[in-house]
Symmetry: C2
Subunit: 337 residues, 2 copies
DNA sequence: TTGTAGGCGTTATCAG
DNA sequence: CTGATAACGCCTACAA
């Protein structure tokens, strides 16, 4: 691997000059600039980012940790982050916490040891609360929570405004003429986002004088589509399928929808289904899912904007807790009565 | 940030000893080991991987470049690589070439400058053939092509055996009683994989005495689901929908299927659809797509195995060109006649 | 078992 | 405009 050393030998120039050429700093004689570029070409020189990171203050590295990448949802995070990184000259290190609190901690440590400029993380559970609290003191504002947050931990975050979402959903259902909803959830893992949504659903349906039933599914499956499918299959067999289902997730909603198709239960005539999020739903056939679009893109943008602001030293008046409002996306899976 | 320096100051030990403790090398007095760990704890010390990489020979870093992450397919690559990296103590840098040859080159350079131990890349087009040929000389066996390869470029690869796949598919169609197929393709971008498959389809249908029609779609759309949908919509309106469609891709197949659902064209009675790959198809409702499962997992495993072999210095008898055989996956979208 | 010193590829500072 | 030199944090002989 060629380095400044061989460039220096070849051109007779010093490290300082070479560095200036390569980084477009200071001013260098035209002739020497040329010499350096020639040497680079012939030596197949390539900068060493590790060394650069060590010598300067920033590694130009962003860390991203998500709970898993087994399904479609998280790709949006990468996709967005990747785009952002490219546009700002950062590189991306990626890992997942594999739905495990221990692994989450491991991966955080690895990211920090990698000297990331900022770590964007979708926390998995509240088990690492103490750990994150400690981190927040050590590296103030070098970590940003995405989509989920931990209560009493002073790490900036951007999350969906779940109370608002719940309100929108309930009001939508109400307007469609329904007076009872069933919220389909999984057993709680202590993370805020779904819990907040559920709270909101309960609160707002009370507010609107609607009956609200919570169904907590316990399942060993990972895939929420399958979980939804199995639940619905069971419910259809037992003839206890609710009239209006709000799934915690659009994956789960699609599972429910699939089962209905399979067993010839007509949607929305027999059962209305509302999802949350808009990932799988584009591929759902033949009907479009009625779902709440949480506007994830804008959530991500807020996160990177926050990072930018912090980088620019605007540490003072930075909004550290951001709640994103989304909007109902009209599909064809809710019946007007 | 705490470093060896502060640990040394605190413990009165030297760099060498600290290094030995932290890396479990040499032998260090029990008492001093303890001292070091205490210091680490109190100083919130964390190793600096950049420095480590610089001082040692390996960065313990793997690079992954895929053409895009806008859809489901590529997540499998990450997911697998991530798992592999974790198990072997590597980190992962991820980026996409954004379906652009220029960007592909950029990202490669960035990866190499990041001192990745190995770069796994799904080449986008053949435009960078010259570039890769040059790279192959500079960094022999530090690059591995995944899923696609470039002819006349001496970079090891693992790809799907498309000729075999074509044979399997054609034979399947034949056994189902059909004597004519239509292969749905996009305008060629010069990359090997689909082209090989198409060649195979042509070759094997000739071999089996079947009629074979190639439909080359030209579209500005990115999303193959939509491309397939639009094609089928058009074909349905013009009443020229083929009897048996082999889509280049399962995304496209799903698009076609969606359109059929939308316009009440019965599958497989009116049209049989075969996909390639098995990504979206799990979420397809209500029918499962009949598709060729290319066994992508095993393809990825072969790639990482290759890397491992190279790392272990088994440079001699390494299989550098690997073709993976997949298998037909029975769904419900092909009619038996 | 421990300490010393040179080196990895850069950047940055400060003379010249 | 250019050169010398000290960092950056860690590893690795080699010497003690």
């Amino acid at each position: 691997m060629a380095s400044y050393k061989q460039i220096a030998e070849r051109t007779g120039l010093s490290f300082g000059t070479i560095s200036n050429v390569l980084n477009g700093k200071g001013s260098v004689k035209e002739e020497n600039v040329k010499k350096v570029y020639e040497a680079i070409e012939e030596l197949d020189y390539r900068p060493n980012y590790q060394a650069k990171a060590l010598a300067s203050d920033s590694a130009k590295l962003l860390g991203v940790i998500v709970p898993s990448i087994n399904d479609v949802r998280e790709t949006e995070v990468f996709s967005y982050m990747e785009e952002f990184a490219r546009s700002k000259g950062y590189r991306i290190m990626l890992s997942t916490s594999h739905n495990s609190a221990k692994e989450e901690k491991n991966q955080c440590e690895i990211m920090l040891s990698s000297q990331v400029d900022c770590l964007f993380i979708m926390p998995y559970s509240s088990e690492n609360k103490e750990y994150f609290r400690r981190l927040s003191e050590q590296m103030r504002d070098r970590i940003i929570f995405i989509n989920r947050y931990l209560e009493d931990v002073d790490i900036p975050f951007t999350v969906v405004d779940n109370d608002y979402a719940a309100m929108e959903m309930i009001q939508y259902i109400y307007k469609m003429g329904h007076r009872k909803v069933t919220f389909l959830d999984l057993k709680d893992r202590g993370i805020s986002s779904v819990r907040d949504r559920r709270k909101g659903i309960i609160r707002w349906s009370a507010e609107m004088n609607m009956e609200c039933e919570i169904k907590e599914i316990e399942s060993t499956l990972e895939d929420e589509v399958m979980i939804g499918y199995q639940y619905a299959e069971q419910a259809i067999r037992n003839q206890e399928l609710p009239k209006v289902i709000l799934a915690r997730d659009d994956a789960m909603a699609i599972g429910v929808y699939s089962a209905c198709m399979q067993y010839q239960v007509s949607v929305p005539e027999t059962v209305s289904i509302v999802g949350f999020g808009k990932y799988y739903s584009d591929y759902m056939t033949p009907k479009k899912l009625t779902t709440f679009n949480r506007d994830f893109k804008s959530l991500l943008k807020q996160a990177t904007d926050m990072f930018l602001a912090i980088t620019n030293g605007e540490t003072e008046h930075i909004q550290r807790k951001i709640f994103i409002k989304g909007y109902m996306e009209n599909g064809a899976t809710v019946q007007k009565v």
